[in-house]
């Protein structure tokens, strides 16, 4: 009797797992499933949204070919409707759970971008840890680009955005959750990388130019036609040759209440990352260092970086104190002969240290000035005011930018 009870229990538990938890009977035929790896959103002239989805098409081969790349597009008055339209027009069920990249087209520069991004933070069909970027071109064009970095352009882009340890922290990465958290915060401020397309001047420049169907003269939109299943003439990749476009994501677009209000250039983005992220292993150049003779250029590698931001708040205003304590070593220099400090990795030479400190002080000062000019609180001043100086929050919540002053302290040290 007891054994019978155990058997019944086992059967019921197995049924719970099989039916309730596994979704084994709810799967959609794989041949009718579009596994979307990235989506691009563009604003049409009629005010509708156009969603272009890059699809990884499963093939019966382990060869990673260009055939893996395909794009389908849908239109709608909301993002959800446009995604549904993809399924309706193609017959494929758009599977978004593998979508790790959302590209927003340039058309949204003067638009409250949360109108399109909010869907991705609300729906459970896509993970809100997906990266978001703004394109300097139309989003769809970025997806169609042919690049030597990967057969699938969105994968190439992700390689740049999600850099492995050891590479520079020069991109202000942002995912759906971070953007929406910033937008819905009291400061209403958020940011994301701005993607620029750079055409490489390679040996096959001429061939590439023909294949790319006329890259724009500005060099910002080397669109590689195609978009379907590759092959000759579709992406400049016939015979195994790749396209010539690479991506630059060092610039950061700033948003206030969903609208783009400014940008951080590569130098400021690097300084921003030094203040807000793990900056170790990053490198940066210190140029034209006056060593007493010919000005030299140095490459410094950061081994540790301690950044702190704090506020002093009184009736007289708000003072933002930023300090940066960097321990770095010289990795390279362009002198005719190596000096002793460089060979032995001894403390940074005074002239290098002073120049690096001056450079970074200037960058951080510019960063704060950009915050003041744009009103985008990417340095989280208002957040800090709310959390740690709450008694003054009601006084400064609407005018903290106007009452903001700052002090910057940067120190560079080498081996001690």
């Amino acid at each position: 009797m007891k054994f019978k009870g155990v058997k019944i229990a086992a059967i019921i538990v197995a049924a719970v797992f099989l039916l309730f938890f596994s979704n084994d009977f709810g799967l959609i035929d794989i041949e009718k499933t579009a596994i979307i790896t990235a989506v691009a959103i563009d604003l049409e002239e009629d005010g509708e949204y156009k969603i272009t989805a890059q699809i990884a098409v499963p093939e019966a081969t382990d060869t990673n070919t260009e055939n893996l790349r395909a794009q389908i597009a849908g239109k709608g008055s909301t993002v959800g409707a446009a995604i549904k339209n993809i399924g309706d027009t193609s017959g494929w069920f758009p599977q978004l759970c593998f979508c790790n990249l959302i590209i927003v087209g340039k058309g949204f520069s003067d638009y409250n971008i949360i109108k399109v991004l909010d869907y991705f933070s609300k729906t459970l069909r896509i993970q809100d840890s997906a990266l978001i970027v703004m394109a300097e071109t139309d989003g769809a064009e970025l997806l169609k680009l042919s690049t030597p970095l990967d057969n699938i352009s969105s994968f190439a882009l992700q390689k740049i955005l999600l850099k492995n340890a050891g590479l520079n922290r020069d991109i202000a990465m942002c995912d759906v959750k971070s953007f929406c958290t910033g937008y819905y915060s009291d400061a209403g401020s958020a940011y994301m990388p701005l993607i620029k397309v750079v055409l490489q001047k390679a040996e096959n420049e001429k061939t590439s130019a023909e294949d790319t169907d006329g890259a724009e003269s500005s060099g910002s939109a080397g669109v590689a036609g195609g978009g379907s299943s590759g092959g000759s003439g579709s992406g400049g990749e016939s015979g195994g040759a790749k396209g010539d476009a690479i991506f630059n994501a060092n610039t950061t677009a700033l948003f206030l209440h969903g609208k783009k209000v400014g940008e951080l250039d590569a130098d400021l983005t690097l300084a921003f990352n030094a203040l807000t992220r793990d900056f170790a292993t990053s490198t940066f150049e210190v140029k034209d260092v006056n060593t007493g003779g010919e000005p030299l250029n140095y490459l410094l590698t950061v081994f540790s970086c301690k950044a702190s931001r704090s506020l002093t708040v009184s009736e007289n205003g708000i003072t933002l104190h930023v300090s940066l304590d960097v321990y770095a070593k010289i990795s390279d220099m362009n002198g005719e002969t190596s000096d002793l400090e460089y060979i032995k990795n001894l403390p940074l030479p005074v002239y290098v240290k002073e120049r690096a400190e001056a450079d970074f002080t200037e960058r951080i000062t510019d960063l704060i000035r950009t915050e003041i000019q744009t009103g985008c609180d990417f340095l989280d001043v208002k957040k800090e005011l709310y959390r740690k100086h709450h008694s003054y929050y009601s006084v400064y919540k609407d005018n903290f930018i106007e009452n903001l002053s700052y002090s910057v302290s940067v120190s560079f040290t080498g081996q001690k």
Binding site: I8, F20, F25, I28, F93, K177, K388
Partner: protein, 365 residues
Amino acid sequence: MIKAFKPRQICFFYVAILPVIKFFMMPSLICGISGEDLWISVLINCLVDFTAIFIVYICLKDADCDFFTLNERLFGKAFSNTVAALYIVFFLLKTVMPLNEVKDYVEMTLYITSPSIFTFMPVFALIIFVCIHHLRVVGRIADGMLIVALIGYAFMFALALPNTDFGALLPVGAHGAKNILQGSYVSEPWFNDCAYFLFFMGNYVKGKKDGLKIFASVAVSAVIVIFFCMLFYGTFTSIAFRQRFALTEISKYTTVINNTERFDYIPIFALLFTAVFSLALPFYFATELFVRILPVKRNLAAVIISLPSIILLLFFEEYFATVENFITQIASGFFILFGTVFPATLAVIMKIRLSKEHKFEIQRG
């Protein structure tokens, strides 16, 4: 008389089974009212529960039968049956929110398309299967689920911790006492765990320092829930109130997950499986009371008790917003009354009555 529980099982029950069901919709619901002070709202509920359990334990620690049996002995069958009937209503109301949120959670996060309404039936089969067993089954569930729940907690917390901004919980108390208490009030359906304790009192094998062990386990249970709420708010900050399914959400932002895909579903499934048993418990205790007050077989009682919930869940889902509003706004008062105030008060009265009886017996020699 053979006791149904061991003190160890009561402790495991509080640590493993009860916190899990508070990980789904409750944190976001409180966030919508008390924002970053959600942990204070939860703390208040935990303290109230702890106090009620403490009073019941102190008053009835020498009793040799459970609260409801003692109630019948001291106050008569009519009163005790009325109390039991009210507690059946209490437990049935207590099942409504968790049952629906677990169903919603599974359907919306694990299913791509809307599943058939019968997908949920195995869960009811499991609930009824638990309900038809003797009280000892609760202790066995606690024993069995402890390791599963602990694995779930450990993985979940470890994955969520690196991405949690604990600074987001500042400033403390900024939302004001009114909102904090309102947050506590709407989350009452998930608390009032003293009601379960009424079945344990006088029904476990007594040992040394039982009270201390039970109080410690209730405190650990509270710490787990409060810590989860802190992690939840620290992860989502200004959009926390929109994250209805906290359990899936908080662990997925760690860099490891980005590189290796969603292995955080291991702790999620562990906690989800524990939650299914957690769902079964109010049904179980309602069935237990049902067979005490009415002469029906346990199997039939289990079906009768489960049926309203099955019907509500499967056929009246479109009215759930109204049901949710009723449970969190109106029925919360009922939960406080029967989950905290009534048992604590009655336990004190019982203690006085028992003391008088004891003195009377001594005087009679």
